[in-house]
Protein backbone atom coordinates (compact mmCIF):
# COMPACT_ATOMS: atom_id res chain seq x y z
CA UNK A 1 0.00 0.00 0.00
CA UNK A 2 3.04 2.24 0.34
CA UNK A 3 2.86 3.48 -3.22
CA UNK A 4 -0.55 5.04 -2.55
CA UNK A 5 0.84 7.12 0.34
CA UNK A 6 -1.16 10.25 0.90
CA UNK A 7 -3.82 9.09 -1.55
CA UNK A 8 -4.90 6.51 1.00
CA UNK A 9 -7.89 8.68 1.85
CA UNK A 10 -9.40 7.71 -1.51
CA UNK A 11 -10.19 4.32 -0.01
CA UNK A 12 -12.18 5.96 2.80
CA UNK A 13 -14.21 8.30 0.62
CA UNK A 14 -17.12 5.85 0.07
CA UNK A 15 -17.48 5.37 3.83
CA UNK A 16 -17.57 9.13 4.40
CA UNK A 17 -20.35 9.32 1.80
CA UNK A 18 -22.29 6.57 3.58
CA UNK A 19 -21.92 8.44 6.86
CA UNK A 20 -23.22 11.59 5.17
CA UNK A 21 -26.20 9.65 3.76
CA UNK A 22 -27.11 8.24 7.15
CA UNK A 23 -26.88 11.70 8.72
CA UNK A 24 -29.16 13.16 6.06
CA UNK A 25 -31.55 10.24 6.50
CA UNK A 26 -31.96 10.52 10.25
CA UNK A 27 -31.04 14.09 11.20
CA UNK A 28 -33.11 16.13 8.74
CA UNK A 29 -36.86 16.03 9.41
CA UNK A 30 -39.05 14.32 6.78
CA UNK A 31 -41.62 16.16 4.71
CA UNK A 32 -44.12 13.55 5.90
CA UNK A 33 -45.76 13.07 2.48
CA UNK A 34 -43.88 9.98 1.18
CA UNK A 35 -45.53 6.67 1.95
CA UNK A 36 -43.46 5.02 4.69
CA UNK A 37 -41.80 1.66 4.12
CA UNK A 38 -41.44 -1.23 6.58
CA UNK A 39 -37.67 -0.98 6.55
CA UNK A 40 -35.06 1.68 5.66
CA UNK A 41 -34.36 -0.16 2.37
CA UNK A 42 -32.30 2.62 0.90
CA UNK A 43 -29.92 2.50 3.87
CA UNK A 44 -29.68 -1.30 3.54
CA UNK A 45 -28.71 -0.77 -0.07
CA UNK A 46 -25.89 1.67 0.67
CA UNK A 47 -24.69 -0.55 3.54
CA UNK A 48 -24.49 -3.32 0.99
CA UNK A 49 -22.37 -1.10 -1.25
CA UNK A 50 -20.19 -0.24 1.75
CA UNK A 51 -19.76 -3.94 2.55
CA UNK A 52 -18.72 -4.74 -1.01
CA UNK A 53 -16.17 -1.90 -0.99
CA UNK A 54 -14.84 -3.09 2.37
CA UNK A 55 -14.43 -6.67 1.12
CA UNK A 56 -12.65 -5.40 -2.00
CA UNK A 57 -10.29 -3.28 0.09
CA UNK A 58 -9.46 -6.31 2.25
CA UNK A 59 -8.92 -8.44 -0.84
CA UNK A 60 -6.77 -5.59 -2.14
CA UNK A 61 -4.17 -6.44 0.49
CA UNK A 62 -3.62 -9.72 -1.36
CA UNK A 63 -4.50 -8.96 -4.98
CA UNK A 64 -2.92 -6.01 -6.77
CA UNK A 65 -5.61 -6.01 -9.42
CA UNK A 66 -8.44 -5.65 -6.91
CA UNK A 67 -6.58 -2.86 -5.13
CA UNK A 68 -6.05 -0.97 -8.36
CA UNK A 69 -9.73 -1.31 -9.18
CA UNK A 70 -10.94 -0.06 -5.80
CA UNK A 71 -8.47 2.81 -5.94
CA UNK A 72 -9.64 3.77 -9.39
CA UNK A 73 -13.37 3.41 -8.73
CA UNK A 74 -13.57 4.78 -5.16
CA UNK A 75 -14.31 8.41 -6.20
CA UNK A 76 -16.92 7.18 -8.68
CA UNK A 77 -18.71 5.11 -6.02
CA UNK A 78 -18.51 8.08 -3.67
CA UNK A 79 -20.08 10.30 -6.30
CA UNK A 80 -22.92 7.85 -6.81
CA UNK A 81 -23.55 7.65 -3.06
CA UNK A 82 -23.58 11.44 -2.70
CA UNK A 83 -25.96 11.71 -5.65
CA UNK A 84 -28.31 9.18 -4.02
CA UNK A 85 -28.10 11.10 -0.73
CA UNK A 86 -29.09 14.22 -2.66
CA UNK A 87 -32.01 12.42 -4.32
CA UNK A 88 -33.12 11.14 -0.96
CA UNK A 89 -32.90 14.64 0.46
CA UNK A 90 -34.96 16.15 -2.34
CA UNK A 91 -37.68 13.47 -2.34
CA UNK A 92 -38.13 12.84 1.39
CA UNK A 93 -37.04 16.06 3.05
CA UNK A 94 -38.32 18.76 0.70
CA UNK A 95 -41.40 19.35 -1.40
CA UNK A 96 -39.49 20.63 -4.41
CA UNK A 97 -40.77 17.87 -6.70
CA UNK A 98 -44.26 16.35 -7.00
CA UNK A 99 -44.32 13.38 -4.62
CA UNK A 100 -46.44 11.24 -6.98
CA UNK A 101 -43.85 11.13 -9.77
CA UNK A 102 -40.78 11.14 -7.54
CA UNK A 103 -41.08 8.38 -4.93
CA UNK A 104 -38.46 7.99 -2.23
CA UNK A 105 -35.45 5.73 -2.70
CA UNK A 106 -36.77 3.64 0.19
CA UNK A 107 -39.87 2.84 -1.82
CA UNK A 108 -38.02 2.05 -5.04
CA UNK A 109 -35.46 -0.22 -3.37
CA UNK A 110 -38.20 -1.66 -1.15
CA UNK A 111 -40.29 -2.53 -4.18
CA UNK A 112 -37.36 -4.28 -5.81
CA UNK A 113 -36.94 -6.34 -2.64
CA UNK A 114 -40.58 -7.05 -1.87
CA UNK A 115 -41.68 -7.89 -5.40
CA UNK A 116 -38.50 -9.74 -6.31
CA UNK A 117 -40.16 -13.02 -7.28
CA UNK A 118 -42.69 -11.35 -9.53
CA UNK A 119 -40.01 -9.10 -11.05
CA UNK A 120 -37.68 -12.01 -11.75
CA UNK A 121 -40.52 -13.79 -13.55
CA UNK A 122 -40.98 -10.75 -15.75
CA UNK A 123 -37.26 -10.38 -16.34
CA UNK A 124 -37.05 -14.01 -17.42
CA UNK A 125 -40.01 -13.54 -19.71
CA UNK A 126 -38.32 -10.52 -21.31
CA UNK A 127 -35.00 -12.31 -21.59
CA UNK A 128 -36.54 -15.38 -23.20
CA UNK A 129 -38.29 -13.28 -25.82
CA UNK A 130 -35.16 -11.24 -26.42
CA UNK A 131 -32.87 -14.26 -26.80
CA UNK A 132 -35.18 -16.30 -29.02
CA UNK A 133 -35.88 -13.30 -31.27
CA UNK A 134 -32.25 -12.31 -31.32
CA UNK A 135 -31.05 -15.79 -32.29
CA UNK A 136 -33.55 -16.09 -35.16
CA UNK A 137 -32.70 -12.60 -36.39
CA UNK A 138 -28.95 -12.98 -36.07
CA UNK A 139 -28.78 -16.42 -37.74
CA UNK A 140 -31.09 -15.55 -40.62
CA UNK A 141 -29.42 -12.15 -40.95
CA UNK A 142 -25.98 -13.73 -41.06
CA UNK A 143 -27.03 -16.23 -43.73
CA UNK A 144 -28.77 -13.65 -45.92
CA UNK A 145 -25.82 -11.30 -45.49
CA UNK A 146 -23.43 -14.06 -46.48
CA UNK A 147 -25.43 -14.91 -49.61
CA UNK A 148 -25.87 -11.26 -50.57
CA UNK A 149 -22.22 -10.46 -50.00
CA UNK A 150 -20.58 -13.52 -51.50
CA UNK A 151 -22.76 -14.30 -54.50
CA UNK A 152 -23.10 -11.35 -56.89
CA UNK A 153 -26.21 -12.76 -58.51
CA UNK A 154 -28.04 -13.07 -55.18
CA UNK A 155 -26.99 -9.52 -54.37
CA UNK A 156 -28.33 -8.27 -57.69
CA UNK A 157 -31.82 -9.68 -57.10
CA UNK A 158 -32.17 -9.36 -53.34
CA UNK A 159 -30.36 -6.13 -52.48
CA UNK A 160 -33.27 -3.96 -53.64
CA UNK A 161 -35.62 -6.01 -51.47
CA UNK A 162 -33.50 -5.63 -48.33
CA UNK A 163 -32.98 -1.95 -49.09
CA UNK A 164 -36.71 -1.31 -49.21
CA UNK A 165 -37.97 -3.69 -46.52
CA UNK A 166 -35.05 -3.37 -44.10
CA UNK A 167 -35.29 0.31 -43.12
CA UNK A 168 -38.99 0.05 -42.15
CA UNK A 169 -39.01 0.69 -38.38
CA UNK A 170 -39.88 -2.53 -36.58
CA UNK A 171 -42.68 -0.91 -34.65
CA UNK A 172 -44.48 -0.19 -37.93
CA UNK A 173 -44.86 -3.95 -38.37
CA UNK A 174 -46.59 -4.45 -35.02
CA UNK A 175 -50.23 -4.19 -36.23
CA UNK A 176 -49.62 -6.50 -39.19
CA UNK A 177 -47.56 -9.01 -37.20
CA UNK A 178 -50.18 -9.20 -34.45
CA UNK A 179 -52.90 -10.00 -36.98
CA UNK A 180 -50.92 -12.50 -39.08
CA UNK A 181 -49.32 -14.56 -36.32
CA UNK A 182 -51.63 -16.94 -34.49
CA UNK A 183 -50.03 -16.09 -31.12
CA UNK A 184 -48.77 -12.83 -29.66
CA UNK A 185 -45.59 -14.63 -28.67
CA UNK A 186 -44.92 -15.59 -32.31
CA UNK A 187 -45.51 -12.02 -33.42
CA UNK A 188 -43.17 -10.71 -30.73
CA UNK A 189 -40.40 -13.11 -31.69
CA UNK A 190 -40.81 -12.14 -35.34
CA UNK A 191 -40.64 -8.42 -34.57
CA UNK A 192 -37.49 -8.72 -32.47
CA UNK A 193 -35.92 -11.04 -35.02
CA UNK A 194 -36.68 -8.49 -37.72
CA UNK A 195 -35.05 -5.71 -35.70
CA UNK A 196 -31.85 -7.77 -35.49
CA UNK A 197 -32.03 -9.20 -38.99
CA UNK A 198 -31.62 -6.02 -40.99
CA UNK A 199 -28.43 -4.57 -39.44
CA UNK A 200 -26.83 -8.02 -39.30
CA UNK A 201 -27.63 -8.67 -42.98
CA UNK A 202 -26.40 -5.26 -44.05
CA UNK A 203 -23.16 -5.36 -42.10
CA UNK A 204 -22.40 -8.99 -43.01
CA UNK A 205 -22.84 -8.41 -46.72
CA UNK A 206 -20.96 -5.11 -46.74
CA UNK A 207 -18.24 -6.68 -44.60
CA UNK A 208 -17.78 -9.47 -47.12
CA UNK A 209 -17.89 -7.15 -50.10
CA UNK A 210 -15.18 -4.95 -48.68
CA UNK A 211 -12.72 -7.84 -48.28
CA UNK A 212 -9.83 -7.26 -50.63
CA UNK A 213 -10.03 -9.70 -53.53
CA UNK A 214 -6.38 -10.61 -53.12
CA UNK A 215 -7.29 -12.52 -49.93
CA UNK A 216 -9.37 -14.90 -52.02
CA UNK A 217 -6.66 -15.15 -54.67
CA UNK A 218 -4.04 -16.04 -52.07
CA UNK A 219 -6.41 -18.70 -50.75
CA UNK A 220 -6.95 -20.08 -54.27
CA UNK A 221 -3.23 -20.35 -54.95
CA UNK A 222 -2.92 -22.21 -51.65
CA UNK A 223 -5.50 -24.75 -52.80
CA UNK A 224 -8.59 -23.60 -50.88
CA UNK A 225 -11.98 -24.72 -52.21
CA UNK A 226 -14.92 -22.30 -52.44
CA UNK A 227 -16.37 -23.75 -49.23
CA UNK A 228 -13.05 -23.34 -47.47
CA UNK A 229 -12.77 -19.76 -48.74
CA UNK A 230 -16.20 -18.87 -47.36
CA UNK A 231 -15.49 -20.45 -43.98
CA UNK A 232 -11.90 -19.34 -43.56
CA UNK A 233 -11.62 -16.10 -45.52
CA UNK A 234 -15.02 -14.47 -46.04
CA UNK A 235 -16.45 -15.04 -42.56
CA UNK A 236 -13.41 -14.27 -40.38
CA UNK A 237 -12.41 -11.26 -42.49
CA UNK A 238 -15.94 -9.86 -42.27
CA UNK A 239 -16.24 -10.63 -38.55
CA UNK A 240 -15.50 -7.07 -37.29
CA UNK A 241 -18.25 -5.75 -39.52
CA UNK A 242 -20.60 -8.59 -38.55
CA UNK A 243 -20.12 -7.77 -34.89
CA UNK A 244 -20.95 -4.15 -35.58
CA UNK A 245 -24.17 -5.35 -37.20
CA UNK A 246 -24.96 -7.55 -34.21
CA UNK A 247 -24.31 -4.57 -31.93
CA UNK A 248 -26.70 -2.31 -33.85
CA UNK A 249 -29.20 -5.15 -34.00
CA UNK A 250 -29.04 -5.74 -30.26
CA UNK A 251 -29.64 -2.07 -29.50
CA UNK A 252 -32.60 -1.99 -31.86
CA UNK A 253 -33.93 -5.25 -30.37
CA UNK A 254 -34.12 -3.56 -26.95
CA UNK A 255 -36.33 -0.84 -28.40
CA UNK A 256 -38.50 -3.42 -30.12
CA UNK A 257 -38.74 -5.53 -26.96
CA UNK A 258 -40.14 -2.58 -25.05
CA UNK A 259 -42.50 -1.64 -27.86
CA UNK A 260 -44.01 -5.12 -28.14
CA UNK A 261 -44.22 -5.65 -24.40
CA UNK A 262 -46.05 -2.37 -23.98
CA UNK A 263 -48.46 -3.32 -26.79
CA UNK A 264 -50.87 -6.08 -25.87
CA UNK A 265 -48.51 -8.20 -23.80
CA UNK A 266 -49.21 -9.45 -20.31
CA UNK A 267 -45.74 -10.19 -19.03
CA UNK A 268 -42.23 -8.85 -19.32
CA UNK A 269 -40.52 -5.88 -17.85
CA UNK A 270 -41.90 -3.47 -20.47
CA UNK A 271 -45.43 -4.59 -19.65
CA UNK A 272 -44.65 -4.21 -15.93
CA UNK A 273 -43.68 -0.56 -16.38
CA UNK A 274 -46.84 0.18 -18.33
CA UNK A 275 -49.00 -1.57 -15.77
CA UNK A 276 -47.39 0.21 -12.82
CA UNK A 277 -47.85 3.53 -14.56
CA UNK A 278 -51.53 2.82 -15.22
CA UNK A 279 -52.11 2.23 -11.51
CA UNK A 280 -50.09 5.34 -10.63
CA UNK A 281 -47.32 3.37 -8.92
CA UNK A 282 -44.30 5.35 -10.06
CA UNK A 283 -41.94 3.54 -7.71
CA UNK A 284 -42.66 0.47 -9.86
CA UNK A 285 -41.91 2.45 -13.02
CA UNK A 286 -38.50 3.44 -11.66
CA UNK A 287 -37.78 -0.07 -10.46
CA UNK A 288 -38.63 -1.33 -13.98
CA UNK A 289 -36.36 1.24 -15.61
CA UNK A 290 -33.50 0.24 -13.33
CA UNK A 291 -34.00 -3.42 -14.26
CA UNK A 292 -34.13 -2.63 -17.98
CA UNK A 293 -30.91 -0.66 -17.68
CA UNK A 294 -29.30 -3.66 -15.99
CA UNK A 295 -30.60 -6.15 -18.58
CA UNK A 296 -29.52 -4.10 -21.60
CA UNK A 297 -26.18 -3.20 -20.13
CA UNK A 298 -25.50 -6.81 -19.17
CA UNK A 299 -26.44 -8.03 -22.66
CA UNK A 300 -24.08 -5.57 -24.32
CA UNK A 301 -21.30 -6.45 -21.88
CA UNK A 302 -21.65 -10.13 -22.77
CA UNK A 303 -21.67 -9.23 -26.47
CA UNK A 304 -18.46 -7.22 -26.19
CA UNK A 305 -16.77 -9.93 -24.11
CA UNK A 306 -17.52 -12.40 -26.89
CA UNK A 307 -16.22 -9.95 -29.48
CA UNK A 308 -12.98 -9.36 -27.61
CA UNK A 309 -12.51 -13.12 -27.50
CA UNK A 310 -13.26 -13.66 -31.19
CA UNK A 311 -11.46 -10.59 -32.51
CA UNK A 312 -8.21 -10.68 -30.55
CA UNK A 313 -6.43 -9.96 -33.83
CA UNK A 314 -8.17 -6.63 -34.15
CA UNK A 315 -8.09 -3.53 -32.05
CA UNK A 316 -11.41 -2.39 -30.62
CA UNK A 317 -13.72 -0.31 -32.80
CA UNK A 318 -16.33 0.58 -30.19
CA UNK A 319 -15.21 1.02 -26.61
CA UNK A 320 -17.56 -0.45 -24.02
Amino acid sequence: MKKYGSFLFRFFLPFLAILLSVLVYYQIPDNGKQKATDHPYYLYFIYLIGAVVLVEILLGFFFNKVRERVYEKAPLITGALVFMAFLNFVTTKTLWLPILYFPSLDRIVGLLVEQRVFLVENILSSFRLLIVGFLYGAIVGFLTGLALGYYKIVGYWLNPVTKIVGPIPTTAWIPLALSIFPSTYGANVFLIAFAVWFPVTLMTSSGIQSISNVNFEVARTLGASTRYQILHIAIPAAMPSIFLGVFYGTVSSFATLMAVEMNGNSSGIGWYICWQKSVMMYDGVYAGLILIALICSLTLTILFRVRDRVLVWQKGVIKW
Binding site: T221, A224, I233, A237
Partner: protein
Amino acid sequence: MVGEILIKDVYKTFQSTTPSKEDVVALNGVNLNIRPGSFVSLIGPSGCGKSTLLRIIGGLEKSTKGSVFLDGKEIKKPGSDRGFAFQGSNLFSWLTVEKNIAFGLKARNIYKEKKDDVKEYIKLVGLEGFEDSYPHQLSGGMQQRASLARALVGHPTVLLLDEPLGALDAFTRMNLQDEILNIWKEHNMTMVMVTHDVDEAIYMSDQVVVMAARPSEVKEVIDIDLPRPRARGQDTFQEYRKRILDVLDLGGNVPEVEYYL
Protein backbone atom coordinates in the same frame (compact mmCIF):
# COMPACT_ATOMS: atom_id res chain seq x y z
CA MET B 1 14.57 -31.65 -63.20
CA VAL B 2 11.05 -30.26 -62.95
CA GLY B 3 9.67 -26.77 -63.19
CA GLU B 4 9.80 -26.13 -66.94
CA ILE B 5 7.30 -23.56 -68.15
CA LEU B 6 6.28 -23.27 -71.78
CA ILE B 7 4.23 -20.25 -72.81
CA LYS B 8 2.73 -20.77 -76.25
CA ASP B 9 1.22 -17.90 -78.18
CA VAL B 10 -0.75 -16.51 -75.22
CA TYR B 11 -3.29 -13.76 -75.80
CA LYS B 12 -5.32 -12.14 -73.08
CA THR B 13 -8.14 -9.66 -73.61
CA PHE B 14 -10.06 -8.22 -70.69
CA GLN B 15 -13.62 -7.82 -71.81
CA SER B 16 -15.21 -4.65 -70.58
CA THR B 17 -18.15 -5.08 -68.23
CA THR B 18 -20.23 -2.40 -69.93
CA PRO B 19 -20.91 -2.24 -73.67
CA SER B 20 -19.80 1.39 -73.86
CA LYS B 21 -16.19 0.67 -72.90
CA GLU B 22 -13.59 -0.92 -75.12
CA ASP B 23 -11.92 -4.24 -74.38
CA VAL B 24 -8.36 -4.08 -73.08
CA VAL B 25 -5.67 -6.21 -74.71
CA ALA B 26 -3.28 -7.24 -71.92
CA LEU B 27 -1.19 -9.81 -73.81
CA ASN B 28 -0.75 -9.93 -77.54
CA GLY B 29 0.84 -13.26 -78.45
CA VAL B 30 3.50 -14.12 -75.91
CA ASN B 31 5.91 -17.01 -76.47
CA LEU B 32 8.43 -17.91 -73.80
CA ASN B 33 10.34 -20.92 -72.55
CA ILE B 34 11.43 -20.92 -68.94
CA ARG B 35 14.10 -23.51 -68.19
CA PRO B 36 13.59 -25.71 -65.15
CA GLY B 37 15.41 -24.39 -62.10
CA SER B 38 16.07 -20.98 -63.57
CA PHE B 39 15.37 -17.55 -62.12
CA VAL B 40 13.51 -15.37 -64.60
CA SER B 41 12.40 -11.77 -64.17
CA LEU B 42 9.61 -10.10 -66.11
CA ILE B 43 10.22 -6.40 -66.47
CA GLY B 44 8.50 -3.63 -68.37
CA PRO B 45 6.42 -0.47 -68.10
CA SER B 46 3.07 -0.61 -66.34
CA GLY B 47 0.39 -1.92 -68.63
CA CYS B 48 2.74 -4.30 -70.44
CA GLY B 49 0.90 -7.32 -69.06
CA LYS B 50 3.74 -8.75 -66.99
CA SER B 51 1.51 -9.28 -63.98
CA THR B 52 -1.23 -10.74 -66.17
CA LEU B 53 1.26 -13.24 -67.62
CA LEU B 54 2.34 -14.24 -64.11
CA ARG B 55 -1.29 -14.63 -63.05
CA ILE B 56 -1.97 -16.85 -66.06
CA ILE B 57 0.99 -19.05 -65.08
CA GLY B 58 -0.43 -19.09 -61.56
CA GLY B 59 -3.83 -20.12 -62.90
CA LEU B 60 -5.57 -17.06 -61.48
CA GLU B 61 -6.50 -15.84 -64.99
CA LYS B 62 -7.41 -17.81 -68.09
CA SER B 63 -5.73 -16.91 -71.36
CA THR B 64 -8.06 -15.84 -74.15
CA LYS B 65 -5.99 -17.80 -76.67
CA GLY B 66 -2.92 -20.02 -76.38
CA SER B 67 -1.76 -22.12 -73.49
CA VAL B 68 0.81 -22.36 -70.72
CA PHE B 69 2.35 -25.72 -69.85
CA LEU B 70 4.15 -26.68 -66.66
CA ASP B 71 6.25 -29.82 -67.18
CA GLY B 72 4.10 -30.73 -70.16
CA LYS B 73 0.76 -30.25 -68.37
CA GLU B 74 -1.52 -27.44 -69.40
CA ILE B 75 -2.25 -24.91 -66.65
CA LYS B 76 -5.95 -24.26 -66.10
CA LYS B 77 -6.25 -23.30 -62.47
CA PRO B 78 -4.09 -22.72 -59.40
CA GLY B 79 -2.29 -25.80 -58.14
CA SER B 80 -0.01 -26.90 -55.37
CA ASP B 81 2.87 -27.21 -57.87
CA ARG B 82 2.98 -23.41 -58.04
CA GLY B 83 3.48 -21.06 -55.09
CA PHE B 84 2.43 -17.44 -55.48
CA ALA B 85 3.87 -14.52 -53.49
CA PHE B 86 1.81 -11.41 -53.95
CA GLN B 87 2.67 -7.76 -54.01
CA GLY B 88 2.82 -6.57 -50.43
CA SER B 89 2.61 -9.43 -48.00
CA ASN B 90 -1.15 -10.02 -47.96
CA LEU B 91 -1.05 -12.13 -44.88
CA PHE B 92 -4.46 -13.00 -43.47
CA SER B 93 -4.72 -10.42 -40.71
CA TRP B 94 -6.99 -12.60 -38.55
CA LEU B 95 -4.52 -15.49 -38.38
CA THR B 96 -1.25 -15.79 -36.50
CA VAL B 97 2.00 -16.21 -38.41
CA GLU B 98 1.95 -19.95 -37.84
CA LYS B 99 -1.66 -20.32 -38.95
CA ASN B 100 -1.02 -18.17 -42.01
CA ILE B 101 1.81 -20.44 -43.05
CA ALA B 102 -0.23 -23.56 -42.32
CA PHE B 103 -3.26 -22.25 -44.24
CA GLY B 104 -2.57 -24.07 -47.52
CA LEU B 105 -1.80 -27.38 -45.81
CA LYS B 106 -5.03 -27.15 -43.84
CA ALA B 107 -7.05 -26.15 -46.90
CA ARG B 108 -5.72 -29.21 -48.73
CA ASN B 109 -6.29 -31.37 -45.66
CA ILE B 110 -2.68 -32.53 -45.37
CA TYR B 111 -1.77 -30.52 -42.28
CA LYS B 112 -1.52 -33.51 -39.97
CA GLU B 113 1.18 -35.23 -41.99
CA LYS B 114 3.04 -32.02 -42.85
CA LYS B 115 2.99 -30.30 -39.47
CA ASP B 116 6.78 -30.28 -39.23
CA ASP B 117 7.09 -28.46 -42.54
CA VAL B 118 5.44 -25.42 -40.99
CA LYS B 119 8.08 -25.32 -38.26
CA GLU B 120 10.83 -25.88 -40.81
CA TYR B 121 9.73 -22.96 -42.98
CA ILE B 122 9.23 -20.65 -40.01
CA LYS B 123 12.84 -21.41 -39.18
CA LEU B 124 13.94 -21.03 -42.81
CA VAL B 125 12.62 -17.46 -43.02
CA GLY B 126 13.87 -16.61 -39.51
CA LEU B 127 10.54 -16.09 -37.79
CA GLU B 128 11.07 -18.35 -34.78
CA GLY B 129 9.53 -16.78 -31.71
CA PHE B 130 6.92 -14.97 -33.80
CA GLU B 131 4.69 -17.99 -34.46
CA ASP B 132 1.84 -16.59 -32.38
CA SER B 133 2.14 -12.97 -33.50
CA TYR B 134 -0.53 -11.39 -35.64
CA PRO B 135 0.52 -9.71 -38.90
CA HIS B 136 -0.02 -6.16 -37.61
CA GLN B 137 2.59 -6.85 -34.93
CA LEU B 138 5.29 -7.57 -37.52
CA SER B 139 7.51 -5.24 -39.56
CA GLY B 140 7.04 -5.11 -43.32
CA GLY B 141 10.07 -7.31 -43.95
CA MET B 142 8.89 -9.93 -41.48
CA GLN B 143 5.45 -9.95 -43.04
CA GLN B 144 7.02 -10.58 -46.42
CA ARG B 145 9.08 -13.45 -44.98
CA ALA B 146 5.96 -15.02 -43.53
CA SER B 147 4.25 -14.60 -46.86
CA LEU B 148 7.16 -16.34 -48.63
CA ALA B 149 7.04 -19.20 -46.14
CA ARG B 150 3.30 -19.53 -46.76
CA ALA B 151 3.87 -19.80 -50.50
CA LEU B 152 6.75 -22.26 -50.10
CA VAL B 153 5.52 -24.62 -47.40
CA GLY B 154 3.62 -26.85 -49.85
CA HIS B 155 6.88 -27.59 -51.75
CA PRO B 156 5.89 -26.09 -55.11
CA THR B 157 8.21 -26.67 -58.08
CA VAL B 158 7.64 -23.11 -59.26
CA LEU B 159 7.48 -19.94 -57.20
CA LEU B 160 5.79 -16.96 -58.81
CA LEU B 161 6.62 -13.58 -57.31
CA ASP B 162 4.54 -10.51 -58.15
CA GLU B 163 6.64 -7.48 -57.14
CA PRO B 164 7.09 -9.10 -53.75
CA LEU B 165 9.57 -6.56 -52.39
CA GLY B 166 8.07 -3.40 -53.84
CA ALA B 167 6.81 -1.95 -50.57
CA LEU B 168 9.98 -2.49 -48.53
CA ASP B 169 12.82 -0.14 -47.66
CA ALA B 170 16.10 -0.53 -49.54
CA PHE B 171 18.00 -2.48 -46.87
CA THR B 172 15.23 -4.92 -46.04
CA ARG B 173 14.80 -5.37 -49.75
CA MET B 174 18.43 -6.34 -50.36
CA ASN B 175 18.34 -8.77 -47.43
CA LEU B 176 15.24 -10.43 -48.75
CA GLN B 177 16.65 -10.62 -52.29
CA ASP B 178 19.55 -12.64 -50.91
CA GLU B 179 17.24 -14.84 -48.89
CA ILE B 180 15.04 -15.55 -51.88
CA LEU B 181 18.16 -16.46 -53.87
CA ASN B 182 19.29 -18.81 -51.09
CA ILE B 183 15.93 -20.55 -51.06
CA TRP B 184 16.00 -20.77 -54.86
CA LYS B 185 19.45 -22.37 -54.82
CA GLU B 186 18.77 -24.80 -52.00
CA HIS B 187 15.39 -25.96 -53.20
CA ASN B 188 16.24 -26.20 -56.90
CA MET B 189 13.06 -24.52 -57.92
CA THR B 190 12.02 -22.35 -60.84
CA MET B 191 11.28 -18.77 -59.86
CA VAL B 192 9.48 -16.21 -62.02
CA MET B 193 9.43 -12.68 -60.65
CA VAL B 194 7.64 -9.57 -61.84
CA THR B 195 9.57 -6.45 -60.92
CA HIS B 196 10.00 -2.87 -62.06
CA ASP B 197 13.44 -2.56 -60.54
CA VAL B 198 16.09 -3.05 -63.23
CA ASP B 199 18.91 -3.61 -60.73
CA GLU B 200 16.90 -6.18 -58.84
CA ALA B 201 16.18 -8.04 -62.08
CA ILE B 202 19.87 -8.10 -63.07
CA TYR B 203 21.08 -9.04 -59.59
CA MET B 204 18.73 -11.96 -59.20
CA SER B 205 17.97 -13.43 -62.63
CA ASP B 206 19.37 -15.89 -65.12
CA GLN B 207 17.17 -14.30 -67.72
CA VAL B 208 15.42 -10.96 -67.87
CA VAL B 209 12.31 -10.88 -70.06
CA VAL B 210 11.74 -7.32 -71.23
CA MET B 211 8.14 -6.63 -72.17
CA ALA B 212 6.58 -3.67 -73.94
CA ALA B 213 3.15 -2.08 -73.75
CA ARG B 214 0.70 -1.57 -76.62
CA PRO B 215 0.94 -4.07 -78.16
CA SER B 216 1.84 -6.07 -75.06
CA GLU B 217 4.46 -8.60 -76.02
CA VAL B 218 7.94 -9.85 -75.22
CA LYS B 219 10.51 -7.49 -76.75
CA GLU B 220 13.67 -9.26 -75.79
CA VAL B 221 14.96 -12.00 -73.51
CA ILE B 222 18.34 -11.04 -72.08
CA ASP B 223 20.59 -13.71 -70.54
CA ILE B 224 22.49 -12.46 -67.53
CA ASP B 225 25.81 -14.31 -67.83
CA LEU B 226 27.27 -13.33 -64.50
CA PRO B 227 28.71 -15.82 -62.00
CA ARG B 228 26.92 -16.21 -58.67
CA PRO B 229 27.08 -15.01 -55.97
CA ARG B 230 26.99 -11.62 -57.60
CA ALA B 231 28.21 -8.39 -56.14
CA ARG B 232 25.72 -5.57 -56.17
CA GLY B 233 26.62 -2.71 -58.45
CA GLN B 234 29.54 -4.44 -60.18
CA ASP B 235 30.67 -2.81 -63.41
CA THR B 236 29.11 -5.36 -65.73
CA PHE B 237 25.70 -4.43 -64.28
CA GLN B 238 25.96 -1.17 -66.22
CA GLU B 239 26.07 -2.93 -69.60
CA TYR B 240 22.99 -5.00 -68.78
CA ARG B 241 21.17 -2.02 -67.38
CA LYS B 242 21.89 -0.04 -70.52
CA ARG B 243 20.73 -2.90 -72.72
CA ILE B 244 17.49 -3.30 -70.79
CA LEU B 245 16.77 0.43 -70.74
CA ASP B 246 17.52 0.68 -74.45
CA VAL B 247 15.01 -2.04 -75.19
CA LEU B 248 12.49 -0.06 -73.14
CA ASP B 249 13.45 3.14 -75.02
CA LEU B 250 14.48 4.67 -71.74
CA GLY B 251 18.23 4.70 -72.42
CA GLY B 252 18.33 8.38 -73.24
CA ASN B 253 20.63 10.01 -75.78
CA VAL B 254 23.60 10.85 -73.58
CA PRO B 255 25.13 7.84 -71.82
CA GLU B 256 25.39 9.66 -68.47
CA VAL B 257 21.66 10.22 -68.29
CA GLU B 258 21.06 6.63 -67.30
CA TYR B 259 22.68 7.35 -63.93
CA TYR B 260 19.79 9.53 -62.96
CA LEU B 261 17.14 6.99 -63.73
